[in-house]
């Protein structure tokens, strides 16, 4: 049924957090001149990264290590003036349940927030999420998505993909607009086992049944004002908190203006 106040949409805890990201954009000159970038990881995690890949000539540094109940990555691209903090499940060494979106999002944002107070001036701030809701199949997925969208999906159709941006004025920082870019789809995960034999070569066999998910990708970010005009430093924490709430609202309520 098309999105309405009366729809029985899933509670937010039913959605899992497949991937989370906080991105900051800076003037490249500012980021290149920033001191202590190699300590940013410690500010957030309080530990050393498990792996660091440092490409000095490319001006790129990537740190990865465990954080909260998942895996955190920090990618700094000095020449492009960009910093990404990304959180996913711990790598597939041991199978595990992906935690509910709210708890992982809270842990992630709580970790990043202290860094926002110490990072170089930020020109643009973004929060990215990939959230998934398990469903029994494509048809149920389309029916479920219809409760989040302003139109009904034809259950016989396939390969649905819907993207829209709905801007809002920031409450946390006066004069700032926030893009709320959302992409809705239904995805399928199929596991396969590949066996190599001298006689038949590579043989692929399905393992278990395919899993279906409603999938929501969010990119919530500040609309750029001017390359030389950073966001008010004192507003960054509040802006990120506002983005978190905007993201949760979309997960709860669907595509609303």
């Amino acid at each position: 049924m098309t999105r309405a106040l009366s729809n029985r949409r899933a509670v937010i805890e039913t959605w899992s957090a497949d991937a989370l990201r906080v991105t900051t954009f800076h003037l490249a000159e500012v980021l290149e001149g920033a001191e202590g970038a190699e300590r940013w990881w410690q500010i957030v995690t309080g530990a050393e990264p498990e792996v660091t890949v440092h490409k000095k000539t490319a001006g790129e540094r990537t740190d990865v290590g465990p954080f909260a109940d998942g895996q955190l990555a920090l990618r700094v691209q000095l020449h492009h003036g960009r910093v990404d903090w990304m959180m996913t499940d711990a790598l597939e060494v041991e199978s595990q349940e992906t935690p509910p979106l709210p708890s992982r999002l809270s842990a992630f944002v709580a970790g990043i927030t202290p860094w926002l107070g110490k990072c170089p001036p930020v020109g643009r701030l973004a929060l990215g999420m990939v959230a998934e809701l398990p469903v029994k199949g494509r048809k149920e997925g389309y029916s479920t998505l219809s409760d989040y969208l302003n139109f009904d999906l034809d259950p016989e159709s396939t390969d649905f993909h819907y993207q829209i941006n709905r801007k809002r004025k920031s409450i946390a920082s006066a004069g700032i607009e926030i893009n709320r870019l959302m992409r809705w789809s239904v995805g399928t995960t199929a596991r396969q086992r590949v066996t190599a034999t001298p006689q038949a070569g590579l043989v692929t066999t399905p393992v278990g049944s395919p899993e279906h998910n409603c999938r929501l990708e969010l990119d919530i970010n500040t609309v750029p004002v001017s390359p030389d005009l950073p966001l008010p430093a004192g507003d960054l924490t509040r802006l990120l908190a506002e983005m978190v709430e905007l993201g949760k609202e979309i997960v709860r309520e669907g595509d609303i203006p």
């Binding site: 990555a73 790598l91 899993e211």
Partner: protein, 183 residues
């Protein structure tokens, strides 16, 4: 370190998967080495639903241009793939899943060598910490990269670190016996 951990690394999975074609491990040089771009290309329902990062707001869309055009890059990068690969094999080593770890090394490195992505292999060797690996993994890295030695700028430095790490845990003569021939 247990003695079983010192067993020489085995070839990946099955002989039929070994890609040693007698000296030609990657296609003949055809020009510029392709840079790794690991941006997943999953589409709804028709592709495996691997985690993908939301890409940037499209620079050309009505959401406005980014501060700088080059900033609109895929977030999932070669460096990130390298870091995740190393985290994964360290984890497998901690769990003593030696065979799986060796398979991962052969698969990842061989794929990138075959694709002529030597800079990615250099990133791995440059970032890899032999002290966090079982000796068989260290040997696997050295074996799989041996024929590409002339193309890999940091392999010799990795070898030196690997030897030093093995000397600490195994003693000088055992370390030399384990990796000396893969220099």
């Amino acid at each position: 370190m247990t003695s079983t951990a010192l067993a020489p690394p085995r070839a990946p999975a099955d002989d039929s998967t070994t890609r040693d074609t007698g000296g030609q491990w990657w296609p003949p040089e055809t020009g510029e080495q392709p840079e790794g771009n690991f941006q997943p290309r999953a589409t709804p329902e028709t592709a495996p639903n691997k985690p993908t990062w939301p890409t940037d707001t499209p620079a050309a869309s009505e959401t406005g241009p980014l501060l700088r055009e080059p900033a609109n890059l895929p977030v999932v990068s070669a460096s990130l793939a390298v870091a995740h690969f190393l985290v994964k094999i360290y984890g497998l080593c901690r769990l003593n899943l030696e065979s799986r770890a060796v398979d991962e090394v052969y698969n990842f490195m061989d794929d990138h060598l075959l694709a002529r992505q030597f800079s990615v292999c250099d990133d791995v060797l440059g970032a890899a910490d032999p002290r966090k690996m079982l000796p068989s993994l260290v040997i696997s890295f050295l074996i799989v990269t041996r024929r590409a030695k002339p193309r890999l700028k940091v392999r010799s430095a990795f070898y030196a670190r690997a030897l030093a790490a093995l000397v600490e845990t195994e003693g000088a003569s055992q370390a030399e016996r384990l990796v000396g021939k893969y220099c």
